[in-house]
């Protein structure tokens, strides 16, 4: 680990003021469950670490009649326990899937969205794009992307919660770089596939801070997350899907379907959403939607199996949201 300065401001403006505009020069510390290992491996070598856990405005869950607001440093455990979020099982199921009380207790929801990819070429020091994707294509890509993998980025985005937030139509509040600067952007627009080494996998500038997540009311929105997990450990899912459905008379009148761990960003499947629109959710329609979700998948040499997993994840997320029994685990 490289020696660094440590700052612990108590206000959002204080945080922004301590962040550098140069990529990598400063890093934001929340729960630290990802940053600290990256620093120990010298994959992150900031001159200054800015701890945001002392900023009171960033913490907690609140609700009014229109929206639920979650502060970025709210721990995953606190999100799980928040009664304001009882109508958002898609979020709670995703956090529940982490299966590690250490990560849930220490990790924050903002950190969960901003964590770096698990791609083993990145984690072994070959860069996020691993020689413009060549190492991944020729190497072991069993856990890599099956969508949007024609560019240099082949990793899968690691966030387990982002698909649910996107499906639920959540918005992010971002401040900086100026002390008065503030923007709201849909979660779907937060993520991007980097084109060049050094670019990050989201649109935050190095001196911007994600402060809050705003969820529209989920009244009457059936929602769920289903993850295909190898085991019960804290390991990331092999594929996942989150769905949010508006129903009328047993018929789907509005649908968002978002897949996780299949592309360099959370993957919005309009095809799957289209497939269930105007239909009731049952085993047949769910299966058709799952198949539609992966119709345009482009697996790499080792991850053909993920196509089926992604399809099953969509299918089972739909059944789960509709309160129907699953036929598998």
């Amino acid at each position: 680990m490289k020696a660094f300065d440590f700052a612990s401001p108590v206000s959002e403006a204080g945080v922004v003021g301590l962040l550098s505009g140069e990529p990598g020069q400063t890093e934001i510390l929340a729960g630290g469950t990802d940053l600290v290992p990256l620093m120990k491996k010298m994959l992150a070598t900031p001159d200054r670490v800015v701890n945001i856990m002392e900023v009171a405005s960033l913490r907690g869950v609140s609700a009014d009649s229109l929206a639920v607001t979650i502060g970025a440093t709210t721990t995953l455990d606190d999100v799980l326990g928040a009664p304001e979020l009882d109508d958002y099982p898609a979020i709670k199921q995703a956090i529940g899937g982490i299966n590690a009380m250490q990560l849930q207790g220490q990790g924050t929801i903002g950190g969960e969205l901003c964590q770096r990819p698990r791609c083993w070429y990145f984690r072994n020091g070959y860069g996020l794009l691993a020689n413009r994707g060549r190492l991944v294509v020729e190497g072991d890509n069993r856990y890599h992307a099956i969508f949007a993998n024609d560019g240099p980025a082949k990793f899968v985005h690691p966030s387990r919660i982002a698909p649910a937030l996107i499906a639920l139509g959540a918005t992010l509040r971002v401040v900086g770089p100026g002390p008065q600067d503030e923007v709201l952007l849909p979660v779907a627009e937060f993520f991007r596939a980097p084109r060049h080494e050094g670019q990050r996998e989201n649109v935050l500038a190095p001196n911007q801070l994600l402060t809050h997540i705003l969820l529209p009311t989920a009244d009457g929105v059936a929602n769920a997350t289903y993850e295909v997990r190898h085991g019960e450990g804290p390991d990331y899912p092999l594929a996942s899907a989150a769905v949010a459905l508006q129903m009328s008379g047993g018929i789907v009148t509005g649908a968002n379907v978002v897949l996780g761990h299949v592309a360099p960003t959370p993957w919005i499947s309009h095809e799957a959403a289209q497939a269930v629109l105007g239909w009731p959710v049952n085993t047949q329609t769910a299966r058709v939607a799952g198949e539609a979700a992966v119709a345009r998948a482009t697996p790499l040499k080792d991850n053909e199996y993920k196509v089926q997993l992604a399809s099953v994840a969509v299918e089972r997320a739909l059944l789960l949201a509709a309160g129907l029994p699953l036929e598998g685990f």
Partner: protein, 740 residues
């Protein structure tokens, strides 16, 4: 002459009873100090620079910038210009600095230039390895039941005879099976904390070989073994990988000498996995033939695998495993790869051999449409190991019957792939069986009885997880008729009487031999003194419930303390010795065990996820000292078996030779929720008790690979040929319909 013996069956008061570990509280509360916890005042931290490349030559090393860094006390180049590196992570240089982070930062300042060489790390494809000229023959055996006539060439006859057997077989199965390299993944990595007291080295070493490592430090440091004290009170896992100080232990001692400060050098997690040992891989192509009952009559196999940059792999001596047909040919090939060197891993060779052989046997059952249980039973006539003069077949038969009852085999069994699916989920049963030695090693044990009745004991053994302290205390307490808590056990120092390394499941047998002998000899002396006092013959006395008394007459007795006071001013010291080379057929210990394991799994056919429902492990181990710690060993072994059956593998990038999952975040292991309901059953009829003590640390880890693979095959009707049975492998196998 003392007749060494154990209490009669059913008459022991301490041994054979369930006892908590006497050091359990220390371990549970964190009071126990592991090597990683030893932090002498003024200690420096050392870190090793590992080579980032798998195969290269060193062009130059420049340590000068690192030496100049603030807080750095010493930098040593380990390799020199021209040295060839054969695996990623090999040690290039080492730094000692004031802080751990500083040592890591200094490593980045070491400037090394490498000439990259061609990398080869793939061990699963024999043809590719042959093409790359990375194979080395490791021998071939052929054995047939019939004898050739005098005038017939034996080799030609054997080959023809094997061919004839295959032609006459009712069923022939050709299979491909594999087990990739896995690592030991000791929770506490390899390493030491060393300091010097003048010319004497004190090394706190994470080791399973306290008595054997002092000399290994001494030679490279050019001092004598008497100048070295190795200490290890607690070890966070070894599994066969921690018998030596290793180069990094010696470096730690050298840095401590050079800086005149205590130095700690523990490997980082990725280094631990890359350089500190692994279990060799095994892959096999096999053809087996059987009669219509499923009795295997002939076997023809070639298996290969890698032990790293040197020849090695799964020994052909144990392929086919345990159930060896009368006619067989087996060929072993080593694949030389640019990967870290192997080390002994819990029951070396056996887990792979079992997973490569007993899967094939199960495929015979599938092919003939027979119950796997019946086919295993039929093949017990070919059980090779012996217990003394007896065949193991009878042991296995009884253990199979017990295991089948515990898992309810008969009610749950269905033919391969013919079970009733519940939605996307199918269930299946599988079994396997194994053997191991586990006889004792030579050593000594000092027992000290003080005039106030205090009892302590010293021996240079260690607790690898066996509950060594508790075992020793149990034996001595049993002998003296005292409660377990009264015996103070001292292990974990090379200054104590020489004792066993903890490998080969020899610990319990070894420490029981020496501690029983020492305590029986000590008791004999105490009986002599007490006999005079009580005015009876010494051979009429017994030690029971804290008293030395006349057998059957507790009124004529002394308390233990009264008896010990007869020792006078000084403590009684007795050293018990044992050497299997000179003591044949010891009444206290034995060797050779058997075990039968059965698995019940559920498989989601659409995600390929395998879940353990139930796992039954039946195991013999002769006389059981402490059933509680014995069962702990079995639980641990079964969980470790589930790990390599369903989760863990070393993954090498074929292009760069990088071990890409060398972190706990990426190296998959099961959690409690993944292991299902585990039932462990100690098989100890009186005949087992009479055999004396046999070790069991390793055997229960052997069968899970084959048993779980067989259960998954039974569920799906398709063999998933290579472990671990990940969703990817399961779905790929279903897609191929069982074709390799």
């Amino acid at each position: 002459m003392i007749a060494y013996s154990w209490p009669k069956f059913g008459e022991a008061s301490v041994i054979g009873k369930e006892h908590d570990r006497i050091d359990g509280l220390e371990k549970a509360t964190g009071a126990a100090k592991y090597t990683y916890d030893v932090n002498p005042k003024g200690m420096l931290f050392a870190k090793i620079l590992g080579c980032p490349h798998a195969h290269c030559k060193i062009k130059s090393i420049d340590i000068s910038s690192a030496e100049k860094m603030r807080g750095v006390h010493s930098v040593l180049a380990i390799k020199k210009e021209g040295d060839e590196i054969r695996w990623q992570g090999d040690e290039i240089a080492v730094v000692a600095a004031e802080t751990e982070a500083g040592a890591s930062e200094a490593l980045k300042l070491i400037d090394v230039e490498y000439d990259l060489l061609e990398v080869f790390v793939a061990d699963d494809d024999l043809e590719a390895a042959e093409k790359a000229k990375r194979t080395q023959g490791a021998g071939e055996d052929i054995k047939v039941e019939d004898e050739p006539e005098d005038n017939v060439d034996e080799d030609e006859f054997n080959v023809a005879e094997l061919e004839r057997q295959f032609k006459e077989a009712a069923a022939v199965v050709e299979g491909y099976y594999g087990v990739p390299v896995i690592t030991h993944m000791c929770l506490e990595p390899h390493g030491s904390t060393c300091y010097w007291d003048g010319d004497k080295l004190i090394a706190y070493l994470s080791t399973q070989n306290v008595s054997g490592t002092a000399a290994q430090f001494a030679a490279p440091l050019e001092i004598t073994a008497s100048d070295v004290t190795v200490k290890c009170d607690f070890i966070g896992g070894g599994f066969g990988s921690k018998f030596a100080p290793d180069s990094w232990g010696v470096l730690c001692a050298q840095l401590a000498k050079k800086t005149d400060r205590p130095v700690k050098l523990m490997l980082d997690r990725d280094q631990e996995l890359k350089v500190a040992g692994n279990r060799p891989s095994g892959f096999i192509k096999v053809k087996i033939g059987a009669d219509k009952e499923g009795l295997v009559t002939c076997w023809d196999s070639v298996h290969w695998g890698t032990a790293g940059a040197k020849p090695g792999g799964v020994s052909k001596q144990v392929v086919p495993y345990v159930l060896v047909p009368k006619n067989y040919r087996r060929k072993q090939v080593s694949i030389i790869t640019d990967t870290g060197p192997d080390r002994a891993w819990r029951a070396p060779n056996h887990p792979q051999a079992c997973a490569l052989s007993q899967t094939a046997l199960d495929d015979i059952a599938a092919k003939l449409g027979l119950d796997s249980y019946d086919v295993f039973m039929t093949n017990l006539v070919n059980a090779t190991p012996k217990k003394g003069d007896a065949s193991m077949a009878e042991t296995y038969r009884e253990q199979m019957e017990l295991a089948a009852k515990l898992i309810d085999w008969k009610a749950k069994w269905h033919l391969h792939g013919k079970g009733q699916a519940k939605g996307d989920v199918v269930t299946g049963l599988g079994m396997a069986l194994h053997t191991w030695g586990g006889g004792p090693f030579k050593g000594s044990c000092l027992v000290k009885v003080h005039p106030d009745g205090a009892v302590e004991t010293y021996l240079g053994s260690q607790d690898l997880g066996t509950g060594t302290r508790t075992v020793i205390a149990s034996v001595i307490a049993e002998t003296f008729g005292l409660p377990l808590s009264t015996v103070k056990v001292n292990i974990g120092s090379s200054a104590y009487p020489e004792a066993n390394p903890s490998g080969g499941s020899i610990t319990v047998g070894s420490v029981c031999e020496t501690s029983r002998r020492a305590s029986q000899e000590a008791l004999d002396k105490i009986f002599e003194l007490a006999a005079k006092k009580l005015e009876v013959e010494a051979d009429k006395l017994e030690a029971k419930e804290g008293r030395i008394q006349v057998v059957g007459d507790p009124k004529k007795s002394l308390t233990w303390q009264q008896a010990c006071r007869l020792l006078g001013m000084n403590a009684l010291e007795v050293t018990g010795k044992f050497d299997p080379a000179t003591v044949r057929n010891s009444p206290l210990s034995s060797s050779q065990v058997g075990g039968v394991q059965m698995a019940e799994v559920a498989v989601d056919r659409r995600t390929g996820v395998v879940k353990m429902k139930k796992f039954v492990a039946v195991q013999d181990m002769g006389l059981v000292i402490n059933p509680k710690t014995a069962k702990s060993q079995m639980y641990g072994a079964v969980i470790m078996g589930i790990a390599y059956a369903l989760f863990e593998e070393r993954i090498m990038d074929t292009k760069t030779g990088t071990f890409i999952n060398a972190e706990l975040a990426d190296y998959k292991l099961p959690r409690l929720g993944d292991v299902g309901d585990i039932v462990v059953e100690i098989w100890q009829p009186e005949s087992e008790y009479q055999r004396g003590v046999v070790g069991l640390g390793e055997p229960p880890v052997i069968s899970p690979g084959a048993a779980i693979s067989n259960a998954v095959c039974n569920a799906l009707g398709v063999r998933v040929p290579v472990l671990p049975l990940t969703p990817k492998r399961v779905l790929d196998a279903i897609k191929k319909g069982g074709k390799a």
